[in-house]
């Protein structure tokens, strides 16, 4: 069955849909967590610390966190590899362009591939910046996420990279969520409007929620 799914264009899209939905679920949780920064360093740092102790005593220290990380890495890799292979195939299937061509599909639809590449690069930067601290702008201190976040968003490039990526994620979700529903066969004529609305609301809420943090730092609400 795994072979059939991976070898088919329809199956590979299903892999993209499921991995995309896993990442989307994570983003919702991640955004809600981020918003705790507006309640001060105490609450935010406590939340960050709690993430390492989830599931104790059943789970050992950081086990849950690593479990989530593994699932996310698998989802990102599955999503990206499927996207790469399908895109290669799509480009090969339409080798010559029309002389008379016009852009038609919505901006979100047309930017899925470039948006995906931007997001992949962003994830690498984001982890190196705020998880490992390798490219962090200030003095990165493990266990002090509040200060680390403020440091990042006190630089112009930190803000620029983050804002571009969050707009890209919004556009990606707008087309991606609705598409995932079609790929998994749950879309229908009667449900179409509801699915599009949910996609737009999710895209808007996540973009706004994530952007609230750099905007908060820039306006000194968070400092």
């Amino acid at each position: 069955m795994a072979r059939t799914v991976w070898d088919s264009t329809v199956g590979k899209k299903a892999v993209m849909a499921v991995s995309g939905l896993i990442m989307l679920l994570y983003l919702v949780v991640h955004m809600i967590g981020n918003l705790k920064i507006f309640f001060g360093p105490g609450e935010f740092n406590h939340y960050a610390h709690w993430l390492r102790t989830v599931g104790e005593p059943f789970m050992h220290h950081e086990w849950t966190l690593w479990l989530v990380r593994v699932v996310l890495v698998v989802a990102v890799v599955a999503h990206a590899v499927s996207a790469y292979q399908l895109s290669r195939r799509d480009i090969k299937a339409r080798p010559s362009k029309y002389v008379h061509s016009k852009p038609r599909a919505s901006y979100a639809t047309r930017t899925m591939r470039w948006g995906g590449i931007i997001l992949a690069l962003f994830i690498v930067w984001h982890v190196l910046d705020l998880t490992t601290g390798h490219v962090h702008s200030g003095g990165f201190e493990s266990g002090k996420p509040y200060q680390n976040v403020v440091d990042t968003f006190s630089t112009w490039y930190g803000n620029a990279v983050y804002i571009v990526a969050m707009l890209a994620v919004g556009l990606h979700i707008r087309h991606g969520f609705w598409s995932a529903a079609q790929t998994l066969g749950v879309g229908s004529r009667t449900r179409d409007r509801a699915l599009k609305t949910v996609a737009n609301v999710l895209a808007l809420l996540l973009t706004a929620g994530f952007l609230a943090v750099p905007v908060g730092v820039m306006t000194q609400v968070v400092s």
Partner: protein, 249 residues
């Protein structure tokens, strides 16, 4: 009407093609687009030039033979087939670009004619029922619920012209294949091959080198028969169901 046409000319499958410019005069707004091309070809033949090759057959909008991407739209600006597109959709003095369907699975044979036999092979892979044929069976022998009959009919409207492939940015044949799958899979007559049909037809579609679906929706916009985009959703559902069932066996 006086028009400037820019038409894709390509001697054969291996030759390089190019857009050639032609002027046509005395076009009536009531002519169909194909009649306008006939007028051009008559002039070309009188001048001893090679007429423009294009596919056409019934000229009634029901056979699926005619094609042409007109000003970037498959079958032109109206939602119909090229043979049913009339020159009143254009203005006197317009410049019109005419190109063949573009997809690697639809290689150009000559000028505006492409080889669409990939569609035939998709049909051969499962676009049929294995019920014995013969004289028409008694209509009430196999009851079909009215909503199912309507659903099947909507998808059965597909004439296999390939506009969906031509319009798709990925050169995908999803709308064509899904129309055939949905048409037969919803009916009791098509039930015995419900799983093998969708699996085999999708496999053949991939085999032919068509692209995948990114749900841009261009196919459904271009379709002269109004096959809805949800047809693809329906096929995806059937494919996933059939894959699960095959794994259980």
């Amino acid at each position: 009407m006086k028009l400037t046409l820019r038409v894709w000319r390509q001697k054969n499958a291996d030759a390089d093609g190019t857009m050639s410019t032609y002027e046509v005069d005395g076009i009536s707004p009531d002519m169909s687009f194909l009649e306008m091309l006939d007028t051009l070809n008559e002039e070309l033949i009188l001048k001893g030039e090679d007429p423009v090759a294009f596919d056409h057959d019934c000229r009634e909008g029901i056979c699926g033979a005619c094609s042409l991407v007109i000003n970037g739209d498959a079958h032109g600006p109206e939602r119909t087939t090229t043979c049913q597109l009339h020159m009143r959709s254009f203005r006197d003095g317009d410049t019109i670009d005419v190109e063949p369907w573009r997809a690697s699975a639809f290689p150009v044979v000559k000028d505006l004619v492409v080889d669409r036999s990939a569609f035939d092979r998709i049909i051969q892979a499962g676009g049929y029922i294995t019920a014995p044929t013969g004289s028409a069976p008694e209509a009430h022998a196999t009851p079909v619920p009215k909503p199912d009959a309507d659903f099947a009919f909507e998808h059965a409207e597909c004439i296999g012209c390939g506009a969906c492939v031509a319009a798709c940015p990925n050169g995908a044949a999803m709308l064509f294949t899904s129309a055939k799958v949905n048409h037969l899979n919803v009916l009791p007559q098509g039930a015995p091959e419900r799983e093998t049909r969708v699996l085999d037809m999708v496999a053949q579609m991939d085999e032919e080198g068509f692209g995948g679906c990114t749900l841009a929706g261009e196919c459904a916009t271009a379709c002269p028969k109004g096959i809805p985009l949800t047809s693809i959703t329906g096929m995806n559902k059937e494919w996933l169901r059939a894959t699960r069932k095959a794994a259980k066996r």
